[in-house]
Symmetry: C2
Subunit: 206 residues, 2 copies
DNA sequence: TGAGTTATGGAACTAGTGGTCCATATAAAC
DNA sequence: GTTTATATGGACCACTAGTTCCATAACTCA
């Protein structure tokens, strides 16, 4: 799997050039999948959103499932990148964790319906039924965990989380809690409800 | 919505009798939906599992989506009934909550792949896109919350949870945590990982 | 300019979808 | 036995799914 686009031109300048930007198209597809899920998204939906013809999509991305996997990988890349930057810029590990959890409120305050986390949505939709996708999901979650573990360890160094606590378990807990919160948002929970849950989630770190 | 079967005979004994038990058939359908999700389940899947012909299914349950909604309602009924009985039989509210959370380990220890919670899976699959289903989901979650709130309040009376804590928020937290745990199980987390998360979840109640 | 290479648009294909319809079967009521 | 009501099996329908294919377009290199 390539993690960016399906076809890497081995010779850059020969043949007819692409009439679209692969990354832009990928992000358009990502948005559709994220909003609608894999099964509920048709090729027509994708073609319209990406603004290209069937042949181009197949040529460049290889088909629905392969396109989807690239979207998931791209989503995880962006997510991890953003959180790493957020952690680096945060005043403290503990504060980063708070901001991270509270970001679920944006899902519910924004104009559009909450979409959850694409990786967790994918885990939920496919479970273990598609081995390749299951592997992608497990790998993405591992990357999420790594960032959160770094945040926990920083908070421990800074004295905001007791040093004897298991950082790995806390990171897993935060991933699980975020997943739960996003699902509650999708299920219709309001901002007040989510805030109440977040407060309890944070209590477990004390 | 009827909450049991689609068609309530208004006159019980006239006409040709059903050749199948509606509740058994409903539970067969429920199993398929639970395992595969709504979109991934075809009418053929349902007909095979339920052991009846197309006409009978449409006659008795009204179509795929109506059948699905009846399955979700039935699932919620069974779930709430079981938890209420569990709470009544438990030695303490706190102990019930521990058993409740630990029940996610069965998903991962059993032979079959984890299926999550049908209600949360449905929330994740449909989000807000189908109003009728969104309403069903919200209502089921409310029922879950009610049981867990009763458990929390009992634990407060028994001195295992501080009485000044918001029982409603804790109930929401438990629903959210269970949802997160089930998603982690679907994503491939092992028993050890889940146990670690559960321990942290419980810490928030102290 | 011609050869080689890749991209594009659209038709065509196969398989399957959920849903409808109707003739027939099986029961109770009269 | 006839009527009335419901259930069943299976053919049938219109539609859409994802995918493949091919003729043509657009580019570089010799």
């Amino acid at each position: 799997m390539n993690h960016t686009v399906h076809k890497v031109s081995m010779a850059a300048n020969i043949g007819r050039p692409l009439e679209f930007d692969p990354e832009t198209a990928l992000e358009s597809a990502l948005n559709v999948f994220w909003t609608q899920g894999y099964e509920q998204t048709s090729m027509q939906d994708l073609l319209s959103a990406m603004g290209l013809s069937k042949s181009s999509l197949y040529q460049a991305f290889g088909g629905k499932q392969q396109l989807f996997r690239q979207c998931v990988a791209h989503y995880a890349d962006q997510f991890v990148k953003k959180q790493r930057a957020g952690l680096a810029a945060a005043p403290s590990g503990r504060r980063f964790i708070e901001v991270f959890l509270n970001s679920v409120l944006e899902d519910v305050n924004g104009m559009s319906k909450p979409r959850g986390c694409l990786v967790m949505n994918t885990a939920s939709e496919f479970a273990q039924s598609e081995p390749l996708i299951a592997r992608d999901v497990a790998q993405s979650i591992k990357r999420f965990r790594t960032v959160l573990r770094a945040a926990v360890e920083r908070a421990q160094r800074e004295g905001d989380i007791a040093p004897e606590r298991n950082a790995q378990a806390l990171a897993n807990y935060l991933v699980s809690s975020m997943s739960g919160l996003k699902t509650q948002a999708k299920a219709g929970a309001g901002a007040a409800t989510l805030k109440g849950i977040i407060a309890v989630v944070l209590k477990a770190l004390d």
